[in-house]
Symmetry: C2
Subunit: 340 residues, 2 copies
């Protein structure tokens, strides 16, 4: 198993990337191909005494900035560490890509260089978000602002395969975000998607999910358009931050607070860990014909290690094969329905 | 000042309503008109030794169930306590309505019986939600699933007037929910609304707000369509519940946890109170030509008291006058622009 890692993606590159690659190589026995400025990578490794054993370095002269226009990855930044990682994946030099760079540029370069799964209308970033009872995958989380019902069905197929194969959830519960539980609620998008999910019959579709029950974990695969999904993702992050500040205020201020903090330290830490989405690694880019994992921009070494583990599982467990099969089944159903 | 209160709205009616009315009459010196089954109201008051001094009872035989179709308020439940409250308001028998019943039925009965402000396209429920730095008003929170840019501008005008007059915020910051801060982000709705807000120039429009910064309190008036707004409202509630459960788990379980809980009890209580939106009273129904307050369905006596105070302020401080003036200004601008 060979994982291609963009050495210069994320806020803490290249040190955090090197640390993560080292840990992953040691713990999981995976081989690593690292893209980026070779001199800088070697200097950083030497300075921090990180062995490069088991890692192949592929030199690239540039790095795409996070605020660059995503399309620039194909022109101005065609020689960047991210573009090279995708090129290597496309050429079969490795089994999966891990990158903490710009999401937009990843979607563009993966779609154009690695290509989408046949029949997939749009590739999308699908973050795994912690819930009270575990975690759920959110699709679309922002890549496609406007969506059609058929796209939502494809998201359901892809998210379901991922949660089953990677997170080990049998028959993942797939639900569409809506403002009411009833089938008649929502916009044309939700009404249309509802009908398509019911028709297809190949997923464990549980109907609508009201946003109130998303954090409780009432669905494993949470389906919506990219605008609403981005609102869900960002609001969850914002409220998490707000709560974190409140806890800090409760436990860090004053003598009694600090004593109380010590008394419940373990539980607070466990809660924080449970809510820390870097524990799950990164977010898969679903719809691409080979495994691509987007690591969080602020990833530390441990988060990169987890993302590499996730990329290995993604490649090993043939998620893409299952997605391809399911899409073929849906296509067959549609052809039959039309023929009837 | 005379406040009309639906005696049978909400989960805890009529007892909580009677308690709230009693407290409000005593503390604020307001007169109360209470609608509902007179016998039941008197029996409940007697049983709980609640004096009805300063309260006028208006008998109505029925109550509209929360799950009834909203339109039924005009036919099957035309003799309900809610319908009568709106009728009394429309007839000028009181200055404002407080009701904890079905939101849908309130929007319908208020729109048809009390009528909308001239020029207002849609009335909407606008809840006040606590943030890290205070609170914000959310519009639309679910009444209008699909919205046009002009509706969003009207929401901004109405929410701004309310936050200024009732919450005492000078030049409230008005922002449109969007998936990015840049003007070019979003759907046609956001792009269109952005242009209209910039043009109008009568509000303190601060541009887009990313959902991440809503809980931090970066805007006082948070504008979006009813689908997205409902997602924001319900997800905030759901995450609040999740955090509440986590805090309970930390402090209620085990000896150390309980001791810790005692040590920080005051702070946890202060935090809970800050996050408790019933403290703000209820949500105004904005766009109606007279003040209507929707109290939370689970309101207790204290929440009803707060809602009555809010209704009094709503009537006293001429929010509706300011909304009417602002809408007239916008109309004038539009006429001028067309004439040029």
């Amino acid at each position: 198993m060979k994982i291609i890692v963009d050495g210069f993606g994320g806020d803490n590159a290249p040190l955090a990337v090197l640390e993560g690659c080292r840990m992953a190589a040691d713990e999981y026995g995976v081989e690593i191909i690292l893209t980026g400025d070779e001199k800088k990578l070697r200097a950083c490794a030497e300075e921090h005494r990180i062995s490069l054993a088991g890692m192949e370095l592929v030199h690239t002269p540039s790095v795409i900035p996070v605020d660059a226009h995503p399309q620039d990855i194909m022109t101005e930044y065609a020689d960047s560490s991210m573009a090279e990682a995708m090129r290597l994946l496309s050429a079969g030099k490795g089994d999966a890509v891990v990158c903490a760079g710009s999401t937009g540029a990843m979607v563009v370069s993966a779609s154009l260089m690695v290509r989408r799964i046949k029949g997939v209308k749009r590739a999308t970033l699908a973050p795994i978000i912690p819930s009270e009872s575990g975690c759920y995958i959110l699709m679309d989380a922002g890549a496609n602002v406007e969506c059609r019902p058929e796209m939502l069905l494809q998201f359901g197929v892809m998210g379901s395969a991922y949660m089953e194969k990677i997170m080990g959830i049998k028959q993942p519960r797939v639900a569409v975000v809506n403002i009411g539980a009833e089938e008649t609620k929502g916009r044309e998008l939700e009404l249309g998607a509802h009908a398509l999910f019911r028709q297809s019959g190949i997923l464990n579709f549980t109907g609508n999910i009201e946003p109130r029950y998303i954090p409780r974990g009432d669905a494993d695969v949470v389906i919506t358009d990219g605008f609403t999904g981005n609102v869900v993702l960002k609001l969850t992050e914002g409220l998490g931050k707000m709560i974190g500040n409140a806890l800090k205020d409760i436990f860090m201020d004053g003598f009694a607070g600090k004593i109380a903090g010590l008394l419940v330290l373990k539980k607070v830490k466990a809660f924080k860990k449970k809510m820390d989405y870097t524990e799950y690694g990164g977010a898969p880019l679903l719809g691409i014909s080979k495994p691509v994992i987007k690591a969080h921009g602020s990833s530390n070494g441990n988060a990169f290690k987890n993302a590499i583990r996730q990329a290995r599982d993604f490649a090993e467990r043939d998620v893409i094969g299952q997605i391809t099969d399911s899409l073929a089944k849906i296509k067959e159903q549609n052809t039959q329905t039309k023929a009837e």
